[in-house]
């Protein structure tokens, strides 16, 4: 099989709908956030919202497995600095995400497929906006080459 470049792909830029997985800390969203919003159809990207007890739970292996399963990008949402309910979970997350981004850079997948934001009181819609921003960053990279091999 011919090697794929990051910008080529079977889909053209217009038809490529990035699949973004949002890993968000439970403390970052408002209590009554409408999380079903992700189920509704969007024309430009698809998002999967995954609640974490704390972003500190995230390991590089999780992020890489999510990508190995075919996701095009991952957006992490953690609590602001010094507001982690578990002291420094959000700091550990930041380090691990930076580490994983470097690994993605080394294998030419594009570090832009992964990022972390910080905030509080997010609504479901705001989570989707985050996902959309990640989708925009991922679009130029093209679809995840693993999509054809997804288990």
């Amino acid at each position: 099989m011919a090697p794929r470049t990051e910008t080529a792909g079977e889909k053209t830029a217009e038809t490529f709908k990035p699949e973004i997985v949002v890993l968000y800390c439970q403390h970052c969203v408002v209590q009554d956030a409408d999380l079903t919003i992700a189920m509704k159809a969007t024309s430009r990207f698809r998002a999967k919202l995954v609640m974490m007890p704390c972003t500190g739970k995230i390991e590089p292996s999780h992020l890489l497995k999510i990508l190995a399963h075919g996701a095009d990008g991952i957006q992490v949402l953690g609590c602001p600095y010094q507001q982690c309910h578990r002291l420094d979970g959000n700091l550990r997350a930041e380090k691990r995400i930076e580490y994983t981004r470097q690994l993605l850079h080394q294998i030419r997948m594009g570090p832009e497929r992964l990022g972390m934001e910080r905030g509080l009181d997010f609504s479901g819609l705001q989570l989707m906006l985050l996902a959309e921003r990640r989708a925009d960053a991922v679009k130029p990279l093209g679809p995840n080459p693993m999509k054809g091999e997804r288990e």
Binding site: A68, M109, E149
Partner: protein
């Protein structure tokens, strides 16, 4: 602890490009302690390599298995059922473990996935510093518990040389303490500076690798 670190990923990708199904074998001992080859690292490297090879256009299936220690035949044996199902093994064990696997399964290619670099102490999470060179002639009793073989770039026995920085670090690496400065400090604190005036004779290096590949035999422990 034996310390190792991942080989550069591009090097691993090149080595694996010709294969379709491999075993990624981890070790739960030293390499797990230094976050290079334990189960966690296996679970990180496996998807990473699959992604990398997919990007290169050479999709690769990876079977993963982490054993207690790859330097123990009984644990290496656990890999026997997987070997027939793969084309090659990428072992994250130190050089000892890689060789044990290669010796037990001579029919299959075994690649090292890490470079074994030193015998080190984990000073803090994420920081390991080499403490021992396995020189076979330990002088720690005379250097106040600080090893000049492993921690001095020149392995001086009568140090320090003229290359100690003002802040006590080694001129070769601003992050590395001049161990002879530490030895002098410790000797001074104990009021035993004079002991460092004794001229230490040239070392006998023959009880280590310099004397030839090492072989230790204990008759009392033989079966």
């Amino acid at each position: 602890m034996i310390i190792a670190e991942w080989k550069p990923i591009p090097e691993l990708v090149r080595k694996l490009s010709g294969h379709r199904r491999i075993l990624l074998a981890g070790c739960a001992c030293c390499v797990a302690e230094c976050a290079a080859g334990g189960e966690r690292e296996v679970e990180t490297l496996a998807p990473l390599l699959r992604l990398a090879l997919s990007v290169e256009g050479h999709p690769l299936e990876i079977v993963t298995r982490t054993v207690e220690r790859q330097c123990e035949w009984e644990f290496v044996e656990e890999l026997a059922e997987i070997i027939p199902k793969v084309e090659a093994v990428l072992s994250l064990a130190c050089g000892i473990g890689v060789q044990a696997v290669a010796e037990r399964f001579p029919e299959i290619t075994v690649f090292p996935g890490v470079n074994t670099t030193s015998l080190a102490l984990r000073e803090e999470p994420g920081l390991w510093t080499a403490r021992c060179q396995a020189c076979g002639d330990c002088v720690l009793g005379e250097t106040f518990g600080l090893c000049p073989v492993a921690r001095c770039a020149k392995s001086l026995q009568n140090g320090p040389c003229g290359g100690t920085r003002k802040n006590g670090k080694c001129e070769l690496d601003e992050n590395v303490d001049c161990v002879w400065n530490l030895i002098v400090e410790r000797a001074a604190k104990r009021g035993q500076l004079e002991s460092l005036l004794r001229i230490r004779e040239p070392k006998n290096w023959s009880n280590s690798f310099h004397g030839g590949p090492q072989r230790m035999l204990r008759e009392d422990l033989r079966p």
